[in-house]
Subunit: 312 residues, 2 copies
Amino acid sequence: MSKPVIAIDMGGTRIKTGIIQDGTILYSASIDAHSGKGLRHRLPFIQETVKNMLHQLGLSTADIAGLGIASPGIVDSVQKKILSIDKKFGDAPDINLNEWCSKTFDLPFTLENDARSALLGEWKYGNAKNYENIVLMTLGTGIGSAAIMEGQLLKGKHFTAGILGGHSVINYTGDSCNCGNKGCVETEASTWNLPAMARTQKNFTESKLSASPVIDYELVFRLADEGDTTALHLRDQSLQAWSAGAINLIHSYDPEVLVLTGGIMASSSQIIPYIKQYIDTHAWTPWGKVHIEEGAFPGTAALLGIAHLVNH
Amino acid sequence: MSKPVIAIDMGGTRIKTGIIQDGTILYSASIDAHSGKGLRHRLPFIQETVKNMLHQLGLSTADIAGLGIASPGIVDSVQKKILSIDKKFGDAPDINLNEWCSKTFDLPFTLENDARSALLGEWKYGNAKNYENIVLMTLGTGIGSAAIMEGQLLKGKHFTAGILGGHSVINYTGDSCNCGNKGCVETEASTWNLPAMARTQKNFTESKLSASPVIDYELVFRLADEGDTTALHLRDQSLQAWSAGAINLIHSYDPEVLVLTGGIMASSSQIIPYIKQYIDTHAWTPWGKVHIEEGAFPGTAALLGIAHLVNH
């Protein structure tokens, strides 16, 4: 049995924390991310949350093997630095997290991209367990991805391989993305851009969407079910965009299985059949069909994966 | 010094053959592909061409180390089978090329995808020599690609990794591709689809393109230079499409260098600066800029690469 570890998943909306031992979450807690305001001012709250979890379990840092952070953006897991992080947590590349971890907890530090961490979680403990060639795609605030080829987590020379599936161009005459690119999967269909996408629809003002203070995919899927034309159009466009993004990942990494996870997968019953059908019809896979799996741990895969990395 | 080898590059327009020793082409010859009629009826002509080359060099098959074929499509390099080949050489998956090679020449046989072969040629002898993380993109009848990551030629579980860059979706609401997918780089900008792309342009009948029996990129680039509106539009759309395809390859494989090659690169002076600028502006590469190189062997990289594979 390994020592328990402290795992932190820096989501754009919530920062999740957990004490994890051999794939089991002993305790977990989360705090608001307020990611627009940066990471530095959240560190004291993270510290507080972690100390409280340890206290609840009757543990001290001496009982803990290490601390791992799963972060969005491009992450140098060797130097343990966040290299580039879109607009979320914009100050993170300037923070020495390794030093923070050492000074605050006196523990070894591990850092990895959040989608790579989620893929490790699904690979070690979840629905990608029996495969060695895997692509994971997260549908949420942004669109994330990661890949394992022949049992190796793909990182690349500059740590960007596998994780930029949300920034695959699927509409080369499309709008600008936060990342500086144009027509990315994220720009075409993700929660951060959904309100803007909705407002540019014809008939938006006649749609029930226009009456809602918050426009998210849960609402879009619900109103589409009720026959709201604008919601139907947004749903269909988004399903097509995610499918195209999934095809690009499959064509890039030649996986046996595609794991779909992330917040939007709360509506998985409307998403999985569409993407499966699209991939079965359009992907160039003469060897057979790519398996499509829903993530086993929609909320905690990244925590489980980064915890695994701390121990290995 | 290695023994010379027989190298064959099954292009959709021309089948190229060569006798190659340690990266030097001792003799080469090519025949019409007539690829629409299949491969089987071309095998006797290939045999004849090879025998003639050997004769010209005063060599017999006893002097030769082996025979290698670089083929378009998806290729199982272990079982030495062509698995899927789009519409070109449609009968190729049913031909036992290993047996043909053995019966005809009594030589060991090597088979690999043509873009992977071209990348090996550029890596071992050409403009990708000093890199270990490379993406190659061929612009021609179709759009091909291949990738080397950390010094390893990428193949994937089912031999499709790296080579489907031309079938990356860059316009998910776009037209159907030969491959069964929609809005591929190839569909948006390649020689096979260029006549169809031209004919759907407004003002096509007023363009000089409409007077030409053959519409290829050489003509499009020339007429664009002369200010022909339709040609200008086609050129700009194609440059954008190739750039988007290049970004998808860069985002997928995290290379240090992108090598551009293929027939369309005859107009490289109009292509390279555009793609370089686009990538510099739009690719998410916080570590720096991807080098852009023109292939050193636009006509023979695949021959050189497959010859290298025969010896290794």
